[in-house]
Symmetry: C2
Subunit: 353 residues, 2 copies
DNA sequence: TTGAAAGCGCTAACAG
DNA sequence: CTGTTAGCGCTTTCAA
């Protein structure tokens, strides 16, 4: 490992001069600088981050904290991580992957006590998240992918649920639908605190109201079986529903099966859209589902960038907050609603076809 | 940030004694040790990793290198990463996520030059991988998830393709199938060098041979469209095929559509299995596909553990090499083959049903 | 414009 | 058994 000293010797200058020349921290004569740069290049010099960090207190390492997620990791989470890693890399930062154990705050205390990281990127943020309180109190720079209930003072990048719901409703309304149902996650201990679950539900309600579209929002389903059941109940209670948005991929599988069992075709008899799911998943379905794809990679990038900005800004400028809507990817599951009464006669049992 | 010095002062001993007591690097009187530990606990002391690393040359940080993958990141890759991060965490190590840019070797040279990391975990290893050569020459400890063509001297964790293919063939043969087709990735510039693509193909060929099952291996498909075409050609050329294994998820979508268009039911008329795909993906299909699920998380864990073992072992013990077969998850797409001639008559065009 | 020197927090000889 | 000392490689005063 070649060090500053080696370079200094080769260029016949003092160590501090080399440091200055390479970092531009103070003026260095052009000729001297040239010699130094040459020497450094010849020796393949790389600054030692540990030494630098030890004195400067800045390591250019960010930690990405993620709870071992409740329902296994999806593409979405991966894209947060890779997006963040990329953005960090572009700015000369590194990303440390930190799985959280049972006690996230303890984990954070440990991690930040190491002196290894400059800041923290929080994933899977809940409406009330104890991690944010710890970080605020400890004065550790951080930003969130997602947001708490009251994120005023904190930088975050999150999905623009308002706009997303509005786009979805507009899409459906433009096709002529007058009544939309939404299958949310079931409000278990986790979802009850999980932003996307809560916010999507609320915003769908609001967006349909604004658009004058009738709304059915009190169903939930997380598995194929639940999707199937919910769908059957939905049709029983609301036979005039023509459009359905589903947040859980497995639930959509059940819905499709239940619809088929009823003899309903998609999209002729039912418009089905997937919410917060990647287009890659939507393509696994037949027909290819219309989907509202979360901008995961971008959120990761934004989160990292905000954090880095905050680290670079010596003073404390106001927190950055960015909301990005999902991308509406129209598949083959969106269509105009059936004419009234048109589909009721097709209740043949096709099981086994 | 409380330092060793603070602890030393509070416990009324020398700094080196504190270090020794806390690390057990040399005998310390029980009473002294107790005092030191108390002081450390009271002050909430955490060793500074940078300082420690600077002198000990060991940071307990591993880098996970991943090329920006050719077809977007899948669940599989994420699971490598999280598995590795977990295993690392358990051993007191940290995982740095390092996206590779255009020039992976240059990236590696930079990364390792930083003095920040103790070792490297390689993902997406190709049969000839220039990164391994660099690392070997540079003497940097590393291990691979996947393996090169001749990985003799290197530690790795990879899928046991032989066993995986054998299990798949056994499954199909036990159901009574006598002829199996396999749709591989198309041999583009990437796949031509990519281990799983090559090895899965080879091992399917070998396993069918051993099992006395007829084999069709010269088809490939990476998209739904290609899957559809390949399937039509397959049936034209081999009307007696009753079982099909597909490596690409989107291709399976095409196969299912093409089969349905032909009036073939799954599994009655065709047994379809997904190779190297997660059960979560397989569940998106209808019927739920039988799948050979790669042990991604475990491979990540193993890779990390091997690397750490190698770092801990001062001497150089032989490289560890582990092969883990995919898990066969039987879904609703496996069944006995149709009786000869049984399905030929159903070639009604059902498009629009 | 440059050099010398101090010190970041820690480990590892070496004395005592 | 414990304290003193010398660095690890770097940044950063402070003098020259």
């Amino acid at each position: 490992m070649t060090s500053l000293r080696d370079v200094a010797e080769r260029a016949q200058v003092a160590i501090s001069t080399v440091s200055a020349a390479l970092n531009g921290t103070r003026p260095v004569a052009a000729e001297t600088k040239r010699r130094i740069e040459l020497a450094a290049a010849e020796l393949g010099y790389r600054p030692n981050l540990l030494a630098r960090g030890l004195v400067s207190k800045r390591t250019r390492i960010l930690a990405l904290l993620y709870p071992t997620p409740h329902s296994g990791f999806g593409l979405t989470e991966m894209q947060f991580a890779t997006g963040a890693a990329e953005a960090a890399g572009e700015q000369g930062y590194h990303l440390l992957l930190s799985p959280e154990n049972a006690d996230p705050v303890e984990e954070l205390r440990y991690l930040t006590g190491l002196g290894l990281i400059d800041g923290v990127l929080l994933m899977e943020v809940r409406l009330d998240d104890e991690r944010t309180e710890f970080l605020m109190e400890a004065g550790i720079p951080f930003s969130m992918i997602g947001r708490t209930r009251n994120p005023e003072a904190i930088s975050y990048a999150d999905i623009d649920f308002t706009q997303t719901a509005q786009n979805a409703v507009a899409h459906v309304a433009a096709l002529g639908h007058r009544k939309l149902a939404f299958f949310n996650h079931s409000p278990d201990a986790y979802s009850a605190q999980y932003g996307p679950t809560i916010r999507t539900g609320e915003e769908f309600a609001a967006a349909t109201r604004r658009a004058g579209v009738e709304y059915v929002g009190d169903f939930c389903a997380d598995s194929a079986e639940e999707g199937r059941e919910a769908f059957d109940r939905l049709v029983a209670e609301h036979p005039d529903v023509t459009a359905l948005a589903v947040i859980s991929d497995p639930a959509a599988v059940g819905v499709i099966a239940a619809a088929a069992a009823r003899g309903w075709r998609i999209p002729q008899d039912l418009t089905l859209i997937l919410v917060l799911s990647s287009a890659r998943v939507a393509e696994m379905f037949h027909p290819r589902l219309t989907t509202l794809e979360p901008p995961s990679g971008e959120l990761g990038r934004l989160g990292a960038r905000m954090l880095i900005d905050r680290l670079q800004a010596d003073g404390d400028d106001p927190p950055q907050q960015r909301l990005v809507p999902c991308r509406l990817v129209v598949g083959d599951s969106s269509g105009p609603p059936p004419a009234p009464g048109e589909r009721d006669d097709r209740t043949i049992d096709r099981t086994g076809t």
